[in-house]
């Protein structure tokens, strides 16, 4: 059964290293992984690629024991493993190096490395001499003694050094499989080069290396093999020498949600939202215009600054320079209430944590932003409140047994509709939606798409952030692609394809077609 794997690993038996076989994992309505089988042979670096939400992280968590798969099995050197927790994975010799490892800030590197198994004198006294000698030896043996001082405190470490500590922890437990999740996102070029050298050595010593990254250029520097996931399924595994950047992008794209989108926006030339050279701590010099009736999607990789741009427009993050205007009037955005007053509505990424009062009723949640308008002498008019809530609950087809139902008990799709209802009740001019369909089943997604289209037709300016490319392409009249906090380019509906968006989002400027 190696149909999905045209590259034979170095070992003819194919048994050496890690193998996942027929892995399936479901979260509520979302099928995150479907029948994924990949070999991670000992001695080579296998890159794991895919769009946001393609299932990379889920697969890594399955390998790490954080998620227990619904189907399939994991084998190390041909032996099936039972992984119920990260502890199980560690004991089996599997170690995931997270982007931001947990480092105890006020103790030394040496103690961080041997946390939980410090060498001791007789009794419980820590043998510091032996501890430091041991870590120094560990560092010397992998050739990194010059990169980190064993007596430095955890809080003083750079991101690269933190990862090094985590790698050392893995090596002291003799890990056979190391998985790196976007390890270079906070590293300098020099640190990256050092890390790559280490990864090559770790592989050469016979370990299986899994390397998750969005950065295509990097993949070609470090990986021997590339496995691509799409929609939770494996697209293919190829030797890196058979591929180029364009080929990888082609493998990553190609989903079809087309039928779900009701299309044909007519928008006027009237600019509603005008973002002029806005910079925040994360985004730089972004300009953006959204006309009445237009849906603009912000695309880009996780961390490109899409959510941060939205939050800045919603008054939730400080704007360092530049100007946001609504209907031609400049808006001073110092706090969210400024944005709300200016007619900007914002449905944040984390519905439950950032938008909903989970223990309160649908009515309470819908009317939260309009209570003052519903009050006379500050007394909330109950009948008017009920009527307004009922109107929007009906209009958005929120499925709830009553207006008094606790919002926490509704499904994700209906919760999202409650958030939208709250903002529509204010009749905003601009609607900012961050990942509006995350964790929502397909039926509710289609309803939300229809609703977005309808709102645009009624003259609202809509900005959608989405990590799902088919959604971006289906919804947007125009796609603005961010990369590293800057606008990498804009694509009209006619030019926007998965390839063209991904090319702007991922490829270095020179490599773009």
């Amino acid at each position: 059964m190696r149909l999905t794997d045209p590259v034979r690993s170095g070992d003819p038996a194919g048994a050496d290293g890690l193998r996942v076989e027929g892995i399936g994992k479901r979260f509520g309505p979302v099928q995150a992984l479907t029948d994924v089988s990949i070999d991670f042979p000992a001695g080579s670096v296998t890159a794991l690629l895919g769009e946001n939400g393609a299932g990379k992280s889920t697969l890594v968590r399955v390998i790490d024991g954080q998620h227990v798969p619904d189907e399939g099995r994991i084998l190390l050197d041909g032996v099936p493993l039972r992984l119920r927790s990260p502890g199980d994975a560690r004991r089996a010799g599997i170690r995931v190096i997270p982007q931001e490892p947990d480092i105890v800030p006020h103790v030394s590197v040496a103690e961080n490395v041997y946390l939980g198994s410090l060498p001791r004198h007789a009794g419980r006294l820590v043998d510091r001499g032996r501890l430091h000698r041991r870590v120094a030896e560990d560092l010397a043996s992998i050739g990194f003694a010059h990169l980190i001082d064993p007596s430095a405190l955890g809080r003083d470490l750079t991101p690269a050094q933190r990862q090094l500590v985590e790698i050392l922890r893995a090596l002291t437990t003799d890990a056979r499989v190391l998985a790196f999740d976007e390890p270079t996102s906070s590293l300098s070029e020099q640190e990256t080069e050092a890390l790559f050298a280490l990864i090559r050595r770790l592989a050469a010593d016979g370990r299986s290396i899994i390397y998750v990254s969005h950065r295509l250029a990097e993949i070609f520097r470090i990986a021997d093999r590339v496995a691509v996931l799409r929609d939770g399924a494996l697209v293919g595994v190829h030797g890196v020498e058979q591929l180029d950047e364009a080929a990888v992008v082609r493998m990553m794209v190609g989903r079809d949600l087309g039928a779900m989108f009701a299309r044909g926006h007519v928008f006027t030339q009237e600019v509603v939202l005008d973002v002029d050279q806005v910079s925040t701590d994360v985004v730089t010099d972004v300009s953006l215009r959204v006309r009445a009736g237009e849906v603009v999607a912000l695309a880009g990789l996780v961390g490109a600054g899409r959510s941060e741009l939205c939050r800045a427009m919603a008054g939730d993050l400080p704007i360092r320079s530049g100007q946001v205007s609504v209907d031609g009037r400049p808006v001073g955005l110092r706090r969210p209430s400024d944005a709300v007053r200016a007619g900007i509505a914002y449905a944040p990424e984390e519905r439950k944590a950032q938008a909903l009062l989970l223990r309160r009723s649908v009515r309470d949640n819908v009317t939260l932003a309009v209570l003052r308008r519903l009050s006379r002498l500050r007394f909330v008019r109950r009948s008017a409140e009920r009527a307004l809530a009922a109107t929007y609950v009906h209009r958005l087809r929120v499925r709830t047994p009553s207006l008094e139902q606790e919002v926490g008990k509704l499904s994700g799709g209906n919760q999202q509709k409650v958030v939208l209802a709250r903002w529509l009740a204010r009749r905003p001019r601009v609607l900012l939606l961050d990942e509006p369909t995350r964790g929502i089943d397909v039926g509710a997604k289609a309803e939300i798409y229809r609703l977005i289209a309808e709102l645009a037709e009624n003259g609202m300016a809509v900005v959608v952030v989405s990590s799902e490319l088919p959604e971006v392409l289906g919804l947007a009249d125009r796609v603005v692609v961010l990369q590293n906090g800057r606008v990498a380019g804009q694509l009209d509906r006619s030019e926007a394809t998965e390839e063209s968006v991904l090319a702007l989002a991922m490829m270095s400027e020179g490599a773009r077609p």
């Binding site: 950032q354 223990r359 309160r360 309470d364 932003a369 609950v393 047994p401």
Partner: protein, 343 residues
């Protein structure tokens, strides 16, 4: 399930309506607990249930109830004020000293001015608490714990640690302490007024609804355009006002302004009552009705232990234990994870 507006308007059953009027099923269990306390101590000592003893319980409950009702609002808003007892003590001292200094140095001053100054001092203490929490980004427990010490120290400094003034020669103070209208003591009327005002504020105004929203999910409230800072300062200011009111009543009843006697430890009673009455620790849930019932339970228990002749020091043990029980019950109800247990 069908979309809501397509179904007929929901008919609420009368039994359900009665239950809601009492504050929901949770308050029913409080009423049960109160009945249990009354029955047990009534059985142990029949004099416990006499009208005169019940009146004693009621009067003793008044000042803790004032503080507990305001504390309920603070906790619903996601905060907590540990400094209330010290604020009351400071207000009592200030009221007595202003009274003395506007008169002949001991008595015969202008009671209205004395009370007004004390209330202003209370509001100022509350505002200071709010500012420390917001702009110092200090955790509410730590911030107000610090002010518990600071306000107490201030009261002791001002008074030199001694009782100040003589208030029992003034008609207004005597009326506050011992007067009654329609058979109810004046201080009970003050409690009714404050409790009703806070209840109406919380349940019927947009301000109250925003307070629940802030405690329920501060991020969501902020993104919905609610100005958290204003609300938090205002809530602590109201708490300070009510604490000062309690301090004035204390001074009127004892006849002088004392820095700690009578006011020390009130914070524990107020906080215990709020949690026992159904406030969620994280905020966003609770109500005046539940808190008043909880104060009644605490007071009945205190009095009962005295009446049956239990060593009064046990009252503190009982109250501490009740606070733990109240918080455990709340945590269970909201499904919060216990510290140190695996998820």
């Amino acid at each position: 399930m069908t979309p809501i507006a397509e179904s007929a308007p929901v008919r609420v059953r009368p039994a359900r309506r009665l239950l809601d009027a009492l504050g929901g099923p949770q308050n029913l269990s409080l009423i049960g607990a109160l009945a249990g306390v009354l029955v047990v101590f009534g059985y142990l000592n029949p004099a416990y249930l006499s009208w005169s003893n019940l009146a004693v319980i009621g009067v003793a409950a008044t000042i803790p109830a004032l503080l507990a009702v305001a504390q309920t609002m603070v906790i619903i808003c996601g905060g907590i004020d540990i400094s209330v007892g010290s604020q009351s003590g400071l207000a009592a001292v200030v009221a007595a000293m202003v009274f003395a200094s506007t008169g002949d140095g001991l008595a015969n001053g202008v009671a209205v001015v004395a009370i007004a100054v004390a209330l202003v001092v209370g509001v100022a203490c509350g505002i200071l608490n709010g500012l420390i929490i917001i702009y110092g980004r200090v955790n509410a427990i730590i911030g107000t714990l610090a002010m518990l010490a600071a306000y107490k120290g201030l009261a002791q400094l001002l008074s030199g640690g001694r009782a100040q003034g003589y208030l029992h020669g003034d008609d207004l103070f005597i009326f506050v302490a011992r007067g009654s209208i329609a058979g109810l003591p004046m201080m009970v009327w003050i409690l009714i007024a404050v409790a009703a005002a806070i209840h109406i504020l919380l349940k019927y105004t947009d301000i109250g609804r925003n307070i629940y929203a802030i405690g329920g999910n501060a991020t969501a409230a902020r993104l919905a355009g609610i100005s958290l800072n204003k609300y938090i300062v205002a809530v602590y200011a109201v708490m300070g006002f009510v604490a000062a009111l309690a301090g004035v009543i204390l001074a009127a009843r004892t006849g002088s302004g004392q820095p700690t006697a009578g006011s020390e430890g009130l914070e524990l009673k107020a906080i215990t009552a709020a949690f026992l009455g159904g406030c969620a620790i994280a905020g966003g849930r609770g109500g005046v009705g539940g808190t008043l019932l909880a104060v009644a339970i605490l007071s009945a228990l205190d009095n009962g232990l005295t009446v049956v002749g239990v060593n009064p020091f046990w009252q503190n043990v009982a109250q501490g234990a009740l606070l733990v029980v109240a918080v455990v019950v709340q945590q269970r109800r909201t499904g919060e994870r216990a510290v140190g247990l695996p998820a």
